[in-house]
Symmetry: C2
Subunit: 607 residues, 2 copies
Amino acid sequence: MPKDQLSPAATTRAVLQPIGLGRARITGGFWAPRQQRNAENAIPSGQDQLEAAGNLHNLRLAAGIGEGEAIGPVFADSDVYKWLEAVAWEYGRNPSEDLLRRQRELTAVVAAAQRDDGYLDSVVQLRDGDEGRYQKLVWSHEHYCAGHLIQAAVAQVRCTGDTALLDVAVKLADHLVATFGETADGKIRDVDGHPVIEMALVELYRETGTTAYLDLARWFVEARGRGIIADHGHEPTYFSDRRPVREATTVEGHAVRAVYLAAGATDVAVETGDTSLLDALKGQFAHMWATKTYVTGGLGARWDGEAFGDEYELPPDRAYAETCAAIGGIQWAHRMLLATNDPFYADAVERMLYNGFLAGVSLKGSEYFYVNPLQHRGNAHADNNSSPAHGRRGWFDCACCPPNIMRTLASLDGYLATTSEDAVQLHQYAESTITTDSTELHVETNYPWDGAIRITVAKTPSTPWALALRIPAWADGATVNGKPVDPGQYARVEQTWTPGDTVDLHLPLTARTVTAAPRVDAVRGCVALERGPLVYAVEQADHEANVDDLHLVDAPITAHHDPNLLDGVTVLTTQGRVDTPTEIKAIPYYAWANRGIGAMRVWLPRA
Amino acid sequence: MPKDQLSPAATTRAVLQPIGLGRARITGGFWAPRQQRNAENAIPSGQDQLEAAGNLHNLRLAAGIGEGEAIGPVFADSDVYKWLEAVAWEYGRNPSEDLLRRQRELTAVVAAAQRDDGYLDSVVQLRDGDEGRYQKLVWSHEHYCAGHLIQAAVAQVRCTGDTALLDVAVKLADHLVATFGETADGKIRDVDGHPVIEMALVELYRETGTTAYLDLARWFVEARGRGIIADHGHEPTYFSDRRPVREATTVEGHAVRAVYLAAGATDVAVETGDTSLLDALKGQFAHMWATKTYVTGGLGARWDGEAFGDEYELPPDRAYAETCAAIGGIQWAHRMLLATNDPFYADAVERMLYNGFLAGVSLKGSEYFYVNPLQHRGNAHADNNSSPAHGRRGWFDCACCPPNIMRTLASLDGYLATTSEDAVQLHQYAESTITTDSTELHVETNYPWDGAIRITVAKTPSTPWALALRIPAWADGATVNGKPVDPGQYARVEQTWTPGDTVDLHLPLTARTVTAAPRVDAVRGCVALERGPLVYAVEQADHEANVDDLHLVDAPITAHHDPNLLDGVTVLTTQGRVDTPTEIKAIPYYAWANRGIGAMRVWLPRA
């Protein structure tokens, strides 16, 4: 049976304790059908794609099954592990013999592929042999693949009780512990060009209690920014290796690498009580959010290097905003939330989740965007496998995003709520059941379409405790049980509870226009439309006028729910003009490009 | 002694005949000191850089001198050839024993490096041997290097009379003729990923009269866009190989590749009388100029792939606008001008020359920009060897631009004027002497600082002929001998001339604001300042207020010449504001980043 997502020992230093997936359960509303499609469409077709693309072939070859050469990119194994993690979380939500069989069969292959000393990376094993190990760590993704394997293993043991993949992970982690560290200790002083191992090792420490994993995670974090990658002859910015993490004041370089590293560093800071490291990460997150984040929560302004740009460099058309970067951003923000109980981070999770992340997957659940622009011109030319000008695609040559989406949707329940000594915090609002050691809460809501959220206390201890409800910063006029509450804070209802007690939270979902900071040159003279947590987009499919030429006129914005459009969305309508006045109809950004690819824009120029 | 730049036989089908470098001579004014610094600073230091970077080392090794391995990129030879071409043109302008010795010594090495059958590419010879020839033509730049060698050889024989490099070029071209073509003829049906060979072969045909070179150039142009590069497994857009040249309606992919190919195709169209190909090229140029060209004439909107973007995708901050692309753009526009006598193309040459090109070289002449943005933020981070955030640099890891600038400055005289049966056309205005078979003209002007241009006819036949003066499209209110003339046309003064006759052209240099097309989202709400052919920039060095925050107020713009600033520039001043009103001072865009690197912008937001 599913255990808590994080073991109790893990979080003694965090302010908030996570609630395991088995105990926070999305039961309906906005997200449940998306999780269902993830289970029914994405995960099975994902395995087919991994088969077709050669990822499974590589692992089977490394396991001694069949003959041939490795296929695909060096990080091919990681796609398999992310998929295995998704299967594990999904099994935790909805156990099925099919899911158990799929993961057990594949786990057996992975275990057979592992070398006797614990090393595992099928592509390196096949292409370079034992001598090739860790020779090109800047680009080889060996630790990156190891990290995703460890994350999958932790998910598997928590959700199925199976220890088969955990055994592989422990053996691999022990090998890493024996291999990497200070030169004086006879170890390799090197870091992977792509972080993720840091988060993974901390999680394995939480699962097993083995402090050597935490120590190695800390070592990897501390080794960063000390010249290792430059010594290999590479420009370090791309690899988040220009400055030590605790000295950096911003995020830079490859966006996914940067936020994965930051998330892992946050784990290390929490588990080691390293407040100065945590303070540095707070500063980096704040700077990223203020100067390098799209209104959608998208991260990464540059195609060149899939990278963060300079401050305020946020072009809507050439936004990269990789789906994986939004996922990494959510992971980092969630860890900062656990560490601080600052609702700013939960607001950030919400913005990334409903916009920058969710735009990366089709309504059907099995077509994806790798790149998530905020403007798409009608005649844009696709010159790249992952270009959004292709429309949503079933897979990519570089397929990091699809299985990352799968594992995120399958584990989404974990972002809803947390506990602290005398309180339960609700961070994200969804039709759900939240169970803690002593309480059970039922959340009823049609959020984000409707701002009414009712929490019923189904089980409670007799002693008083507090229900803390995040009031999003955009929620001017929010009320709890009819009384005004301040946005940007937690509204705390502290009392002695009786089973059946209810709390009514109301978040006003008035459509609003937002403008960018004046230094964001790329969208000068433009506004974006938002309602609740959703950023809206204007898409060619709803307009006869050419969206490339459309301007917004100052006029009221009306909202109405259309149950027949895009699986049911609340649309916004207002006035615009090209040469003559015309109606503008905006749909949630996440739903664009589900009717073919055409002109789209989030930022609308004012007439 | 220098001969005409193009041999008479070459241009029978062109509308205009070029005037060779020996006969069109810049004698003073704006460009003469730039050519002098090119000769005195850039060319000698360029040879040192080619030595330090290993380019000369490679050729010596291939010539059997010394031992070692090839150093640097696969196209290393081409940098040497561009430098040799610059030396040749410079020798043509100003013969010196030093320049003759430098090119003869290096030519001897190049000749010794050539294989017996004519093949020549030092890097491929050293790294891959004879078996490696043309195995990776998509990326190997073997034809690209050959093209630059041929161009250098033609320059050398024209300017020095030396045939040593021409002998190498002919042997290499004969080898290419024997090797590339239709499979049915037993040849390799392949194209180089990087065009330039097309232009070079046509020029060699003009020099030698050997039609096989023209035929091969035409074959390379026609083979493009027929699936060759896709068949090698590459996405063809980057390589200008998605559509046949005569079917393409725009430029796309890598900007330098695209304009080099177009320039070569223009040569082929002219020499073969292929009007449908020329018509296609007219359409491509017009589309490029209207939708994919910066106000500076800069080409290439994307760092990713150093490429043209979609229509109207022209971000000022992340403009790539590679210096080499401006040079290729000038080469293409000049060929279109020769083919059509349409002043639109001479206007284009002027815009690229004074802005997108000239910004690529420092006032001193020996520091360069590879990338030429139209906005630079004060705190921009350099994460790349060629990033402008480094400021101007003496050389680059990829050093295509510096020697390309050198050869362009050394051959600039060739862009001034042309002839046709009964007329001499002046396209670019500079203090100069223009000599044709029957006429000699002296041009006196301090253009572009002053709009007064006096042409004195020093030598003339007794029969009437016409002097055609380009009136730039921006020159509202221009006069010839006091009479108004229309901008965007040639003002034609046709008469019987007497030595000593003068024509006074006046181009009003009123400072003006320009706005971008409405679809250029990236500079919405902004204006740029221009005066005459110059685009202006606002640079941090002239302002206490933060240029990142500066807005332009509607106010008069005044111009005054400051002889002590930036080697003498006419500056523009007007009113702006940040929080409070402040003066804005604008300098010519070409002169930015000569006082260190800091915030700069061409497009100024309106308050």
